[in-house]
């Protein structure tokens, strides 16, 4: 990247990037109050709740949180910057390919990790960009109809008995779903191993198919996959009680919470080979040339949870109040199964005992960068056949 | 046999009673003209016959078939009455060219192509619009548009024709020609025709029967001669004839064995057969029947010339006779009458008398055309 004096000046002034020092939080808070507001572009509506919580701690700082969805968050930042408008302070979104390989190098955002968190977050989750939460897609089945997981390996989903009985959200238009596919493809050797282990024979690739990951997608689609536009409906379709032949699905695992709220019977077959979980990060960053950089830092820190939070903190539902809120801060609104903090010192939320132990597949940023377009094309070509 | 019968038709628009009660019998093949002042209900009558308007009450019989009856609820829609209609406002279809406007009904009736073409050519020729078949109505002048409306009727050849002021926007020459054309069509098709016009010449020259209406009520119904010479009442007398008939107030009295009419200071002899008692009376004389003389006679009245209006073959002269306005029509083109000393005379046999109610006073034995021989 060419050096850009204006950018550099801003970084220096805001003490970000190479100029980041060990923050003096009193100073940051005082400056943030002077700035008076913080503008957050976010891909999730939960941010509105965080904004509310933030207000309880810092009533002098007004939070303007936009819930835009991931592609609009990115679009808005890019367009504003192209037009020379610097309105955003914090950018919150998934989408590795865009966040890491477009916004970051183009100075639309800058990575900011509060200094006190550096050693509490694994490097993969703070470089090149700070992960706020890790979310995951999981395979869902109906535990009422099937007391035991009906399948042992992902490959069974390509068998005739699941024909027309497996659904997932369309990856077209959903960056996170695409990330899940990317993790399957990236770990194709594990996919292959799982196949050979289960069937005891060598996997034969169809013509024109590159590897076991793609082969799996190819067969899955060929098995009359049901594509839906809405994750919540998928969770309902699988988990509703009283079904004779419920389908299975890929679903965002935070819909497991519906088991409590709506009395569904969703379950994840954690022992599935190669894995039943596909995790992906959601990033938070300070926007390039943010007008309220101190407030932005404060907000990012708030999002990540307080300093005092640790593995033995006692947290009680509802988390967005009292002591729990004081500890969790910005994490409180996210604190439920399916959204996990990358901090090693945050206790897992309720009903997620299995999470730390379970096998998870994740796509690496570099792989995503180089392959995501290809995967998307592959999907499109296969589903339109 | 009567082809069109209206029985006790009434029609109201909201609170406005356009036709209070109308009875009309139109014999098959006849040419009937509706005459009357603007707004008297002529168009409404035509529309009721055509079925475009449903009468409020009454019955309409066309060719022996009841097509509307408020009593039994029968209503035959206009498209199945098989009539020809020329609208006062033309009602040309703006989106169709002239040819299509004329032939639509024919092609709807699945006439062979050749017939349609022939009729189009013929109709266009008759209304002298040959060559304009390819224009849209909006590209025509007012009179041309009206002629398209006429051509539409000509091409369709229905057996009952209703025409609402079909020639109002045409010049005299064309109008005379079209009149002849319509009359010929009437004869050829033996079509029963109801014709609305405000042009008396048209009414008097074309019609078998003239119906004079006022405020939706028929005032008189008869041949042109009857209407013109024996108007049933003051309204008809005043309405028919252009320039208007002259009306005077006089007093009938006996002068020895002769009856006389006193008018201002003069006396005028009157026919003895007049069936009416002495006393005040309204009498009328048509402008063409007043004679202008240059010498005072026994029954002449002194007059002063006011305005002289030549209309071509005739000249309308407005005179002032003892303060009263009198119109005289002379059969010459005249731009001025220079002489001051003129007198007028009322030929006694040209006078028509009306009683107080405005109805004509009949003569004992009606005099027929005899006095009009040249």
């Amino acid at each position: 990247q060419k050096s850009d004096p204006k950018w550099d000046a801003w970084l220096q002034k805001s003490q970000l990037g190479p100029y980041q020092k060990n923050e003096n939080w009193d100073e940051v808070i005082a400056n943030a109050k002077k700035e008076g507001e913080v503008v957050v572009y976010s891909s999730t509506g939960t941010m509105l709740k965080v904004a509310e919580d933030f207000g309880k701690f810092y009533p002098d700082i007004k939070v303007k949180a936009y819930d835009l969805g991931s592609e609009k968050t990115i679009e808005k930042v890019v367009r504003e910057h192209q037009a020379g408008v610097y309105a955003a302070d914090v950018v919150y979104s998934g989408g590795t390919e865009q966040m890491v390989f477009d916004l970051l190098p183009n100075h639309r955002i800058v990575n900011y990790v509060p200094s006190y968190l550096t050693d509490k977050i694994p490097a993969a989750h703070r470089e090149p960009l700070l992960t706020h939460v890790i979310e995951a897609y999981g395979v869902f089945y109906n535990s009422e109809t099937y007391p035991q997981p009906p399948i042992k390996t992902l490959w069974e989903l390509t068998e005739p008995q699941w024909k027309g009985r497996f659904s997932m959200k369309s990856p077209a238009g959903s960056l996170t779903t695409l990330m899940m596919l990317a993790s399957i493809v990236e770990h194709s050797d594990e996919m292959q191993k799982a196949y050979e282990q289960h069937y005891g024979k060598k996997l034969e690739l169809s013509s024109g198919v590159e590897n076991a990951g793609y082969e799996f997608l190819h067969r899955l689609i060929g098995n009359d996959i049901v594509i839906s536009d809405n994750s919540s409906k998928i969770a309902t379709a699988v988990g509703l009680r009283g079904q004779a032949k419920p389908p299975m699905a890929f679903s965002v695992i935070h819909y497991l919470t519906k088991n409590q709220s709506d009395n569904y019977a969703n379950a994840v077959p954690y022992d599935l080979t190669p894995s039943a979980l596909f995790s992906y990060p959601t990033y938070v960053a300070v926007a390039g040339q943010a007008p309220h950089s101190n407030a932005a830092k404060l907000f990012v820190a708030f999002l990540m949870g307080s300093k005092d939070l640790n593995g033995s903190s006692e947290l009680k539902a509802p988390f967005r109040s009292g002591k729990s809120l004081e500890l969790l801060q910005g994490m409180a609104a996210f604190y439920q199964v399916g959204t996990f903090s990358p901090r090693t010192d945050v206790p897992p939320p309720p009903y997620s005992e299995m999470w730390p132990k379970a096998r998870k597949l994740t796509a690496s940023p570099e792989f995503v960068r180089d392959n995501i377009a290809k995967i998307s094309d592959f999907w499109m070509a296969e589903t339109s056949r | 046999m009567s082809e069109i019968t209206l029985r006790n038709i009434t029609k109201s628009y909201g609170s406005h009673l356009a036709l209070p009660s109308l009875d009309l019998d139109i014999p098959k093949g006849s040419f009937v003209t509706l005459l009357g002042p603007s707004g008297c209900g002529k168009t409404t009558t035509l529309r009721v016959i055509a079925g475009l308007e449903q009468a409020t009450t009454g019955e309409v019989v066309l060719g022996g078939k009841t097509v509307y009856s408020s009593g039994t609820g029968v209503f035959v829609p206009p498209e199945r009455r098989g009539l020809g209609f020329i609208f006062q406002s033309y009602a040309l279809w703006p989106n169709m060219k002239v040819d299509r406007n004329i032939t639509l009904a024919l092609s709807e009736a699945k006439q062979p192509k050749q017939v349609i073409e022939d009729r189009l050519t013929e109709a266009l020729a008759k209304v002298q619009l040959t060559g304009l078949a390819d224009r849209y109505p909006s590209e025509l002048s007012g009179g041309q548009q009206q002629r398209v409306a006429v051509a539409r009727l000509i091409a369709a050849r229905n057996s009952i024709l209703l025409m609402d002021e079909p020639l109002s926007n045409l010049d005299a020459k064309l109008r005379t020609e079209m009149r002849t054309e319509l009359k010929r069509m009437h004869r050829e098709l033996q079509a029963t025709t109801v014709y609305v016009t405000h042009d008396q010449v048209e009414a008097l020259t074309m019609s078998d029967i003239v119906v004079v209406m006022k405020d939706g009520v028929i005032q008189q119904q008869g041949s042109p001669y009857e209407i013109y010479h024996n108007p049933a009442n003051l309204f008809v007398a005043e309405f028919i004839g252009d320039p208007r008939i002259n009306l005077f107030e006089g007093i009938l009295s006996m002068n020895g064995s002769d009856r006389i009419l006193r008018f201002e200071d003069s006396t005028i002899p009157v026919p003895a057969r007049l069936q009416c008692g002495d006393g005040p009376v309204t009498f009328a004389i048509r402008p063409e029947n007043i004679t202008i003389v240059e010498r005072q006679g026994p029954f002449s009245l002194p007059a002063e010339v006011d305005i002289v209006q030549p209309t071509g073959s005739q000249t309308i002269i407005s005179l002032s006779v003892k303060g009263q306005r009198v119109t005289v029509l002379i059969p010459r083109f005249e731009t001025s009458l220079s002489r001051k000393n003129i007198w007028i005379e009322f030929p006694a046999d040209q006078l028509t008398f009306f009683d107080k109610a405005g109805n004509r006073v009949p003569l004992q034995q009606p005099v027929l055309g005899a006095s009009h021989a040249a």
């Binding site: 367009r79 390919e97 390989f101 049901v226 | 475009l52 009539l83 989106n95 709807e108």
Partner: protein
């Protein structure tokens, strides 16, 4: 001036120069010319700039393209997207198949829409069908419901076990699973779209039909045409501008609609162009997305071109001359009640069913359980109770919904006004300069925003209005910009209905005022606008309704304090709170119906339009 200073020896040149100046001056003094120029400039800025931006992006390397073009720098010129979409290995999947699917659904739906819309319009405006006023409001309600509601209702009713979950009402009542082709795919898409979008045809035709002189139909009756043929041969061709507009609007909207095909098509992988555009934009593959959108733009231009051809230059559609206008009610006779019942049945399917579903959705504690005990009014009036989400404020004290409603109302109202004025002006210029190049281009350009991908449109406006431009201050972040973009986007509604309405008014009506010394502005206010009001109002009503529901267009431009109702619904949907989605949607529908009723009451009172 030159004339006095001009030397005597060049008399031949002087008049010619003066003539040129004079002619120029003269064309400026003609209001329609002057307006035409002004509008052309304004629209060029507001519409063509975004269009060029779209085209430019399809011709340059986008960040996403790095995977395919590793060596290229973003921003470089490339034909890559064109090859990929139209000729590449994936072109069948990306473009051709969805495109043909789109064409099939759109054509069929348009035809059905037209039949419904024009038929209803004729019945309600011209005949003595019972309860006309009531029907008039009723038949517009399907459009007031968000389009996904209809699709949702369909799924709820005809769902089979393919997508799992609770069984559909059909399966529940009849015990058989409806086949896939009834539950998903083109047929339900066509039906749902038709039931939603016939309103365009209805509004457009019904306002035109009022100004068709009954005597023209009567002349048809005298020519022996049956009722139906009168309609087909005379009335319908006279309504051609209105029908043409309706076809263009309906087709383009249907071909570009995303929600319904997404819900009903995806389970059987029936893709259409908009789902592809959405997919491309969602993966930030702007090049492909915009290119596909451009296909729609071209399609729209084609349609308008055909429409202009059909309407022609010479053909006249003037039905309101200054002479003898009559409007007569047609007696349906024995058909009165059967037709009424037919409409009511259709409306039950299209209005009552989805509406009941929505209301139910707002009352139910946990999804899928329709027992009486599971109903609550909590989400409307508060009060809590067992099993409700206490953290979600009820409507009455939900500042979120109430503020957003107010914003939406304000935005929709201002937009309807602005777009009404501009649509009228465009209609006026287009009609008065009919046949000229100005007329044709203006008509086309005014329609383009209709098919721009809403999100991209908003994004491009950020760039255009972030900084002051000439006399215009920086509008980004202001409410004015929202009004502006909404007005531009809905301009097609009013300009199309405006054109159709103005084509029916005879020039002499304006001329009569003109010779009496009534200036241009007063003529418009006193004569043309009132007569064209029916058409204009229906266009404005369409704008109003669609802005009440608009989100993607403005989402990049709104500030949190100007959240709109659709945004609230979107948030609740994201956060999976179906009750509040139901509450907000029912509220939206109620408002739109109320506004519609008010407009109608006011317009009949002031006797707007011809009759």
């Amino acid at each position: 001036m030159t004339s006095s200073a001009a030397p005597v020896q060049t008399p031949s040149r002087v008049p010619s120069v003066r003539a040129v100046v004079g002619h120029l001056w003269h064309s400026f003094t003609q209001p329609e010319r002057l307006l035409g120029i002004l509008l052309a400039i304004v629209l060029a800025g507001l519409v063509l700039v975004p269009l060029f931006e779209l085209i430019r992006e399809t011709l340059t390397v986008q960040p996403y393209d790095r995977a395919y073009l590793p060596k290229a720098q973003p921003g470089e010129f490339t034909w890559f997207h064109y090859e990929r979409v139209f000729a590449g290995r994936l072109s069948w999947a990306i473009f051709y198949k969805p495109f043909f699917n789109s064409l099939i659904t759109a054509f069929t739906a348009t035809i059905i829409c037209l039949a419904f819309g024009a038929g209803f319009a004729w019945l309600i405006v011209r005949t003595n069908i019972p309860f006309r006023n009531f029907l008039h409001t009723l038949v517009m309600i399907p459009y007031m419901l968000p389009s996904w509601v209809m699709a949702l209702a369909w799924i709820t009713f005809f769902k089979n076990d393919r997508i799992g979950g609770a069984s559909g009402a059909f399966a529940y009542f009849f015990g058989v699973q409806p086949p896939d082709w009834i539950a998903y795919g083109p047929i339900p898409i066509i039906i749902c779209l038709s039931l939603h979008y016939y309103v365009y045809a209805y509004l457009s035709v019904s306002s035109s039909i009022t100004s068709v002189d009954s005597q023209l139909e009567e002349a048809g009756a005298m020519a022996g045409l049956s009722r139906l043929k009168q309609f087909l041969w005379i009335t319908a061709p006279l309504l051609l501008p209105a029908i043409g507009s309706a076809v263009v609007m309906t087709f383009i909207r249907v071909v570009g609609s995303f929600g319904t095909p997404a819900v009903l098509g995806m389970p059987v992988r029936y893709y259409v162009l908009p789902t592809q555009i959405y997919a491309a934009m969602g993966t930030r593959n702007a090049g492909d997305g915009f290119l596909l959108a451009l296909v729609l733009v071209v399609l729209a231009c084609l349609f308008i071109f055909i429409n202009q051809r059909l309407i022609g230059v010479r053909k006249s559609f003037v039905t309101l001359s200054g002479k003898g206008f009559r409007s007569k009610e047609i007696d349906l006779g024995a058909w009165r009640w059967p037709l009424f019942i037919l409409i009511m049945l259709l409306m039950t399917a299209a209005v009552a069913f989805p509406l009941v579903l929505l209301v139910l959705q707002s009352l139910i504690k946990t999804a899928g359980n329709y027992s009486l005990g599971n109903l609550t009014l909590h989400y409307w009036i508060g009060g809590g109770g067992e099993g409700v989400d206490q953290l979600q404020a009820a409507l009455v004290d939900n500042g979120n919904i109430i503020d957003a409603t107010w914003n939406s109302l304000k935005l929709a109202f201002l937009t309807a006004m602005t777009t009404g004025i501009f649509g009228f002006l465009i209609g006026y210029v287009v009609v008065r300069t009919r046949g000229s190049l100005t007329s044709r281009t203006l008509e086309m350009v005014a329609f383009l925003p209709y098919i721009f991908p809403a999100l991209a449109f908003g994004a491009i406006y950020i760039g255009m209005f972030a900084r002051p431009f000439g006399p215009i201050p920086a509008l980004y972040g202001t409410f004015a910009l929202l009004v502006l973009i909404c007005s531009v986007k809905t301009l097609p509604f009013t300009s199309r209905t405006g054109i159709a309405a103005l084509l029916q008014i005879d020039k002499s009506l304006e001329e009569a005022a003109r010779v009496q010394g009534i200036g241009w502005f007063r003529r418009m206010i006193r004569i043309i606008v009132p007569i064209a009001a029916g058409g204009l109002l229906s266009g404005m009503l369409l704008s109003f309704i669609s802005i009440m529901r608009e989100l993607s267009l403005i989402i990049l431009l709104v500030t949190p304090s100007t959240n709109v109702l659709a945004g609230v619904i979107y948030n609740y949907q994201n956060q999976d709170m179906p009750q509040l989605v139901g509450v907000a949607t029912v509220l939206l529908v109620a408002i739109v119906i109320a506004v519609n009723l008010v407009v109608r009451a006011v317009s009949t009172k002031t006797r707007v339009g011809a009759v």
